[in-house]
Symmetry: C2
Subunit: 400 residues, 2 copies
């Protein structure tokens, strides 16, 4: 059969093949993989889930298995609203401003669909979360990548870019960013907010998947505090309870935008599975999430610290790496002239997988950065894997 | 804030507001509603689910809560493949040809996205499932509605339409169709297949949400039997186990099309919730689905029969209605000159809600048909509601 795919499906998906081949290579059981981004199972409250499911099925079995509404389960949305007050000090989020989505990945698609026509401007950090780039590219936008520095996005470049080009959407991950692990300083947040206020039609999409996983430093304010309804906030239960349940959310203060998102959500898949929403709500009612997170945060702090120690010990001089305040990733930069892709292949041949930086960039290729995940490796594998990775870098440095 | 929505979100969504207002009106507890399409809770195996969840969490807790793969849970896909062999006699479906989706609603979006560019032809039954029309319209196709008759689609009109207009996708619900309850005869199936074979690039999307809910007549073959990889089959657990879990699937024999769908699915939401997929697989392994379905099928047969008896008794002369062999809906046609919308409002004023036929048609408006759901009403409400509906029809007939 001769299949005639649509144009959007005929063009190569943004870095998709590349990413899939990298992840597949790292999936072999013989490989020490720092390539993925899996939460450590310590964050999965298996026993408590069993209790929550039992309660939900016994008390609301029919409701949990029946069709439900597009916006999501009210008690879960109430919990999220309360959490914004408690952890970010945003006290005026209303449950009706929250739409439950299939992980925050679906929210990325929803936002792009309702805002972006072909050619419309989307501003991103450079580098940024690769699957966000993939989402945006489905809608043929003009993407403006803005350099990400140690303390946040390059404000000067942002200001100039927005002055020269109209943009409808800007996407940022201000805390323990994926892929770099970097966090915006207060100064950069304030400066970015000041710039964005001058561009009224521009929606800022603040992604915050790791915000609960802070192991050092002091939390800074959400962009929502500065920008009000100009900022939409993405959130997810993936990194704190379970990614497998695929429950995330988007907090949208603007009613027109929210209605457009709800209309689109209904057409996409009617609603997010209510069974998992009710289980999560029950779990969160019966348990103290902060208590649950203690072990995850401690573990990630220890893994991150161990990995940085190993890098200091095994990496050749001239390689730098970030010092995240939380989250799941480190970002290493090799000396000029070394390609992360070469290091990737050299390390893979020795049994270690990392994620070369290339797919996280809108247009830069053959970069000298790589993302290294520490959340889901044993201490032994971190020591062994980083030693091997150091050898691979050394090999690539001497080979040039 | 001045939000600039994308063009696709700025245009009125296809009949969306209309449908929502109708469903909202029918949702009041004081209303006897035949407007929706909720499965009867008798089809929800609440107790058995509790056992299945316990097993999954105890034996595979980490896997059930961790990230998973886009195609879906292998044992569930194996079960679906075996089910095709058992119920439809299609013995060569391979598990890898099945992609798990968030209900079959998401599969509708996926198929349209990977096949349809603006202006491309999509052929539908007239009337058809309204949320399928909504899905298609997101992608700006040219929709060709083909009259649906007692024994299936109008083959002559189909043949002429396809001869005059290229089309890339055709959507049919051949068994107990939504909204009409009608089923294609073998002759019409064979004729349709013969026509489609002449249009090699056209993909037939066969939706089969109610196929397991047959209470009379003999099953006919799937279009897949005639058309091989030219036919993609949609399926869902919504009507046989639980709609709340949002687990459906699409069976795609063509590899190129399947890869395009998988790439799109990853970008949309990474994967469908694995927790519910594993629970369903466990439930289906430990229980006999045919045994479970006995009570649902008996109940729907009885409700359908009772509703038809009440219609014969209470409806004025000149009103006809379908006699489904299964599923959840009846379709009533009133005499020329009576508008279903007028009947809808007249009945609602008396406390009964139905679904007027208009939103199920691509372009016909002010039709004299209405969809009446029987799956989720008590016998008392069926008797009372149909009597009141009969009065409303009589009122509209005399008022003209």
């Amino acid at each position: 059969m001769r299949v005639q795919l649509s144009k959007r499906s005929s063009k190569p998906d943004f870095q998709g093949d590349f990413t899939r081949s990298i992840l597949a290579a790292g999936a072999s059981p013989d490989i020490i993989s720092f390539a993925g981004g899996l939460p450590n199972p310590v964050s999965f409250p298996v026993k408590e889930m069993e209790t929550a499911v039992k309660k939900v099925l016994e008390n609301h079995g029919v409701q949990a298995l029946q069709y439900s509404t597009a916006a999501g389960y009210e008690p879960l949305r109430e919990w999220i609203a309360r959490r914004y007050a408690k952890t970010l000090g945003i006290t005026d989020v209303k449950p009706e401003e929250i739409i439950i989505t299939n992980g925050s990945q679906q929210a990325l698609d929803m936002m792009t669909s309702v805002l972006i026509d072909p050619g419309d401007g989307v501003v991103v950090e450079d580098p940024t979360y690769l699957a966000a780039l993939q989402s945006f590219h489905l809608y043929d936008p003009t993407v403006y990548p803005i350099e990400l520095r140690e303390d946040g996005i390059n404000c000067e470049q942002l200001e100039k870019t927005l002055a020269a080009h109209p943009a409808k959407l800007m996407y940022v991950i201000p805390n323990f960013q994926n892929p770099t692990g970097l966090t915006y300083s207060r100064e950069v947040r304030e400066k970015v907010a000041e710039i964005l206020k001058k561009h009224e039609g521009l929606v800022l999409l603040e992604d915050n998947p790791y915000t609960e996983l802070r192991y050092s430093g002091t939390p800074e304010k959400s962009f929502s505090t500065y920008l009000g309804e100009q900022c939409c906030m993405l959130g997810t239960f993936s990194k704190i309870v379970s990614p497998g349940m695929r429950v995330g959310w988007i907090c949208v203060r603007n009613e027109e935008l929210r209605n457009a998102l709800l209309n689109y959500k209904v057409t996409e898949d009617l609603h997010t599975n209510i069974f998992c929403q009710m289980i999560l709500a029950q779990y969160l009612t019966d348990n103290d999430i902060d208590e649950h997170l203690v072990s995850t945060i401690q573990l990630y702090a220890q893994k991150s610290s161990l990995m940085r120690e190993c890098m200091a010990k095994y990496f050749p001089e001239g390689v730098t790496f970030t010092k995240p305040q939380g989250g799941m990733f480190l970002w290493a930069t090799m000396p000029e002239g070394v390609k992360a892709l070469d290091v990737y292949y050299a390390a893979l041949a020795k049994g270690v997988a990392v994620c070369p930086g290339d797919p996280f960039y809108e247009s830069q290729r053959n970069v000298r950065m790589m993302r290294i995940n520490y959340s889901n490796s044993t201490d032994e594998n971190i020591d062994k894997g980083i030693r091997i990775l150091g050898d691979a870098i050394r090999q690539c440095m001497s080979g040039k």
